[in-house]
């Protein structure tokens, strides 16, 4: 891959000889333990704006706040600032809300912090997780009042580790009800998820074996297909396990832990570790949120309220987009029992032994060897027709064998699992004062999650507040799942289901509508099956917003190039509210227009 993040382990090894210019992610661990971290952080953070050439803007932000600390993120009175960190192919948001009592510190809300390893190096200039963490520290003074974890995927939480956030204070932590250990339904879902994870690891192992065999046999086409499947399944697995290593390292270390663990205890994935890291630091407790319960006040802010729209409690909707069904992994489809992952799986047939013959023995079987050879031989004669006289295909044509068709199902299972986790995304809408503008953070919610949003309405005192109304007032949308095909629903204002058509449907909101896509296409294009963001979605958003679509990898110039140049005034007012930095975008949203 050759990116900054992927090289990290190697860089750490060579560090003593020649220190890298920018401290790589892992080596930061040592640095952090020795030195006072805040000092270093301030230094880097202070350097940033100058480099980006946005000095004037930054200064303006700082001066208007009157805060003494440089780099602090201070929202203007009467507006909130949303900072989208350009962390890589992943999510990391910092929201700054004005405090309830004037003069005190702003309230900082952080949503997720993660990236796909390899992707941060694909943005100009390359950045590391340490840069991001230092910036967050400078912006918040190391105090996050509210930390929100949307769902357990690598690209949403692998940054949340001891290494970077050791000295941080977390107030409250919010996560989805799926994390609630006292919820029987959530526990059942987790149990099932673990089974699948183990099964998928096995499928991946089978793929590796098949790949070796195919390469050795010189079957180039099939080997290519197997390699593609293997890297795809690895990719998806790594998302579920988490951590900052590349896919291969992530999975193999988890595999080792799996085999070392006793049957009764389950090894924890990196995602779980990251989650635990934050939870353990929650000074004001953890809340596992269900959709459509009461309206939450974001404490300390001047009237910011939060509405939880997802994930749905309904199993069917959670599993919506689950193309294969959940059955497979209870029998560990690719063999063997879950406790022993190290050995190559022992394949077991569903039938009594007397019925079956193994492939190796089959061709020499006394009774049926000829049958197997003739109908499933490897077509070694290379004939493409039965005999010279006719054009009939031979019985043992190699192209009719099905040795590798299961690969297709391995892939769809991996996708199903990812879709499931994505659908457990905590979806939060922040309302800036009653009846004010709304910021919608959809995390990676997919179809089933979206469809459930308007199942119920909220009780606002005596009144009812519908989700359709909330969406209509939405001025900022965090686009779901890097803009992938199934995480933004298309539709009209009159559609029966929540969709892009419902969002920013109100006149004022429509004029302001802005979207944020967390994607690095330069990285995603090299990943099989990652079409992020989907062009159709990006186009629809560009169209809807008049070009106001932030994308992780695009600087101001690139963004302006994509703008349909019709309304210069609107664009100028947009620029006035925006700060472009190498590491982040700051976007100011007034409570009311």
């Amino acid at each position: 891959m050759g990116t900054a993040m992927a090289k990290t382990p190697r860089a750490a090894g060579t560090k003593r000889k020649a220190p890298a210019k920018r401290p790589p992610a892992l080596s930061a661990k040592k640095a952090a333990t020795k030195k006072a971290p805040t000092k270093a952080a301030r230094k880097t953070a202070a350097k940033k704006p100058r480099k980006a050439g946005a000095k004037a803007k930054m200064a303006a932000v700082v001066s208007s706040s009157g805060a003494s600390t440089p780099g602090r993120l201070i929202p203007d009175p009467g507006s909130a600032t949303v900072r989208m960190y350009r962390i890589g192919h992943g999510d990391c948001f910092l929201l700054a809300f004005p405090p309830e009592t004037a003069g005190s510190d702003p309230i900082y809300v952080m949503i997720d912090c993660g990236y796909k390893p390899g992707s941060p190096g694909k943005i100009e200039p390359p950045r590391t997780m340490k840069d991001i963490a230092d910036s967050i520290r400078a912006a918040t003074g190391g105090h996050i009042h509210l930390m929100i974890i949307t769902h357990e995927h690598q690209d949403h939480l692998n940054g949340l580790t001891q290494t970077y956030f050791k000295d941080f204070k977390f107030g409250e932590v919010w996560c989805a009800w799926t994390e609630d250990g006292s919820d029987a339904f959530a526990n059942m879902l987790r149990e099932r998820f673990n089974d699948r994870l183990v099964g998928l690891m096995r499928a991946r192992r089978s793929l590796a074996t098949a790949l070796d065999r195919l390469s050795a046999a010189g079957d180039r086409d099939m080997a290519r297909a197997a390699r593609r499947m293997h890297s795809r399944v690895s990719e998806l697995l790594a998302l579920e396990i988490g951590g900052e290593d590349d896919d291969e390292a992530t999975i193999s270390s988890f595999e080792r832990e799996l085999s070392a663990a006793r049957k009764t205890e389950r090894p924890t994935s990196r995602n779980k570790t990251a989650l635990a890291f934050v939870k353990d630091r929650a000074e004001n407790g953890i809340r596992c949120l269900r959709p459509h319960e009461r309206i939450l006040k974001v404490s300390g802010t001047a009237g910011v309220r939060a509405f939880v729209l997802g994930p749905p409690r309904n199993e069917k909707q959670l599993l919506d987009l689950d193309p294969v069904g959940e059955e497979e992994f209870h029998i560990a489809p690719f063999g063997a029992d879950a406790s022993n992952a190290r050995t190559v799986p022992l394949q077991t047939s569903p039938f009594a032994a007397r019925h079956s013959v193994s492939l190796d023995d089959s061709f020499f079987d006394g009774r049926h060897g000829a049958f197997f050879r003739e109908h499933y031989g490897n077509g070694s004669s290379g004939r493409d027709r039965k005999n010279a006289e006719t054009r009939e295909v031979p019985d043992d044509a190699a192209w009719r064998r099905i040795e590798h068709d299961w690969m297709l199902s391995a892939e769809s299972l991996a996708i199903a699992m990812n879709d499931y986790t994505n659908n457990t995304s905590l979806v939060v809408a922040f309302e800036l004062g009653a009846g004010g503008n709304v910021l919608l953070f959809t995390a990676d919610a997919q179809r089933g999650n979206w469809l459930s949003w308007d199942r119920k309405s909220f009780k606002d005192g005596e009144k009812k507040l519908s989700v359709k109304d909330l969406l209509a007032r939405t001025v900022l949308l965090k686009v779901g799942h890097h803009g992938s095909h199934n995480a933004t629903l298309n539709g009209h204002r009159s559609s029966k289901y929540p969709s892009l058509g419902w969002i920013a449907a109100q006149g004022d909101a429509a004029r302001q509508f802005t979207a944020m896509i967390t994607a690095v296409p330069a990285w995603a294009k090299d990943q099989p099956g990652w079409n992020h963001p989907l062009k159709a979605i990006e186009d629809a958003l560009l169209d809807k917003s008049g070009g106001r679509v932030f994308r992780t990898d695009l600087d101001r110039k690139a963004m302006e190039r994509r703008r349909p140049d019709d309304d210069k005034k609107a664009w100028k007012s947009f620029l006035d509210r925006t700060v472009f930095d190498d590491l982040y975008f700051d976007y100011k949203v007034p409570f009311e227009e």
């Binding site: 069917k316 599993l319 919506d320 987009l321 689950d322 193309p323 294969v324 069904g325 959940e326 059955e327 497979e328 209870h330 029998i331 489809p333 690719f334 063999g335 394949q347 047939s349 569903p350 039938f351 009594a352 019925h355 079956s356 013959v357 193994s358 492939l359 089959s362 049926h368 049958f371 109908h375 499933y376 493409d384 027709r385 006289e389 006719t390 054009r391 009939e392 044509a397 192209w399 009719r400 099905i402 040795e403 068709d405 299961w406 199902s409 769809s412 299972l413 996708i415 199903a416 879709d419 179809r447 089933g448 095909h485 199934n486 298309n490 559609s495 289901y497 969709s499 159709a536 629809a540």
Partner: protein, 706 residues
Amino acid sequence: MMSNDDGKQLLEPDAIPQPVCRKLRIYAFDPSISSSFDFAGVGEVTIEVEWEADLQPGPVGEYLEIVDRDPASDAFYRPVDLNDPRLLAQDGFEPSESNPQFHQQMVYAVAMSTIKQFEIALGRVALWSSHAARDKEGRRIDTHFVRRLRIYPHALRARNAYYSPDKKALLFGYFAATERSNASVPQGSMVFSCLSHDIVAHETTHALLDGVHPRFNEPTNHDVFAFHEAFADLIALFQKFAYPGVLGKLIARTRGNLLSDNLLGQLAQQFGQATGRGKALRDAIGEIDPETKEWRPKKPDPLALHYVFEPHDRGAILVAAVFDAFLRVYRARTADLYRIATEGTGVLKEGDIHPDLANRLAEEAQRCAGTFLRICIRAIDYCPPVGITFGDYLRAIITSDRDLYAADPLGYRLAFLDSFRAWGIYPEGITGLSTDALMWPTGEEVQLEIARRRARSASKTMSAASETDSRGRVKRFLDQQQKQLDILFAAEAPRPAARTMRKVAGKLSFGWTLDCDRLGAWENARYQAALLRDWLDTQTNTWAQAFGLVVDRRAASTIYRPKARADSRPAIEVHSVRPLLRRSERGDTIRNLVVEIMQRRRGYLDPKRQSEMDGKSWEELHADRTPPDFIYRAGCTLILDPTSSKVLRLIRTPGDIANDKMLERMREYLTEEREPGNAFDTADRMLREREPFALLHAASDGHSHG
């Protein structure tokens, strides 16, 4: 055991006649239903499969080869020998989940029944789609005959079963049930998709349809995949209804109002549920009323086609429409029985109905299902060669039935019209749904129109031309066309040496019937296709125009030309020449030929690129090896009558190959969102998929597609 020497047998005075059929036991639904008390005695049936004297272990016969490889278990299961006298004496193995040899027997029996239904309806041997031999760059270099469809009963450990057009094989999966899948299946036990009657019939139908219409694998509009699914579901349903005994036994043990046609719908639905798939059936036909708790047929929604696009859900609309027509006919056919049973009062007495009456009702339903099965299958010869729509299928049903039976005393066609109207299925460009309006035009009708158009434009230039003149011109024109057809049907092989065919039939003719050798039939069809192509190629008459083909040298260069003849006219591909043999109401045999002709054009998703490529010279395009984004096809299906040298029916695609509007429509379909709600996922992803049905079927249990 059995003498292979037929000649010797004939001389023997006490020669034992060849058996007509082989009796085999199968699950009528699937194992979970068979083991439930409610279905005791009806879960297993013995069906009669055509006798194949030379059936080998596997079983491997003329049409099918069952190869039981299970890669996930690294196992081969020993092939069953159905000719073993012990098995012959007891109608094969007893239904069993734990015996893979029974699984082989069941897939063989069910798939063979489906094949035979097709052969009976179409009057010719069934052929599988040909295998395209390709070079290293993936270019087709040769076409090979596939004698047998391969069936892998245990190919996958997944909740999936599909037909692979690439491998010419059916792949069935198996999986372990969990608490969620089905209450009647204990957790942890295995569910084998190859033991579900409907799934086997459904997949076999996919393969058979592919043999007739290989281009129906290409989704060029919303209806194509939906049609494939719906058609397979319909065949599976009617096939099971048509087994003797199944319905009778079920009806006999069901209480309640047996005369209500709801019962049939309910049964059909239970069938659907039993398969664990058949979502189309389950949701298409009806539902349980939440208040009365009683089953009720689904209300037709004439607007459904405007908002349902997911292939299974859309296919369900077609299934519902056809099933609705079936119920209408059944109702009409049993009205007399109902009157007899109620003595004209219309009120049924309390208690059970007479078993004889139950039997008669079942018989009617069974017969009716058999007829519908044949109507549905026959119609596939009357479909356009590419890009079928539900409306086209309705026209195909009406025309094929009308061509065979001029009168319609039982109102089959009206039933179809009524129910399709109720479901909002209208063919494009048809104003009213009547039998006449729906019939595909004949060759004469089309030529007459062309002649009139010519006469009109001629009379404009020559104002003096009298009406009689113009009439005479039309007549002369039509005579000319007829002469051309006579040439075609009398044509001896023009350049037999140029063709590589070995078995050369003399002229365009039927070459294959129900008894002929299938390889011979295949080669014959290829030969005849070449003959027809030559005829079209050397034409100066207007048949090509009438067929909707583009032969203009100046046509857009994205339209494919014959290999290495850059300046020539657009290539005409004759894909299939097959006989269609049917028995008419008067008892005589109707022998027709079905011909499919197509042209190809390079399509690009970007309209700008398209016009740029259209403008390039053909040589430039030919030299450019980058493949186009998609292939746009257009053409026609012809029903020919060699006896009278006539084009009986002419079924054209909505636009010809030079039609930019239709090209644009296909582009729109490929790039538009596939399903409202699950937007932005484009069909062009499906198009690239190597195993289109694998994807389609894997998703059918979930709620939607990923």
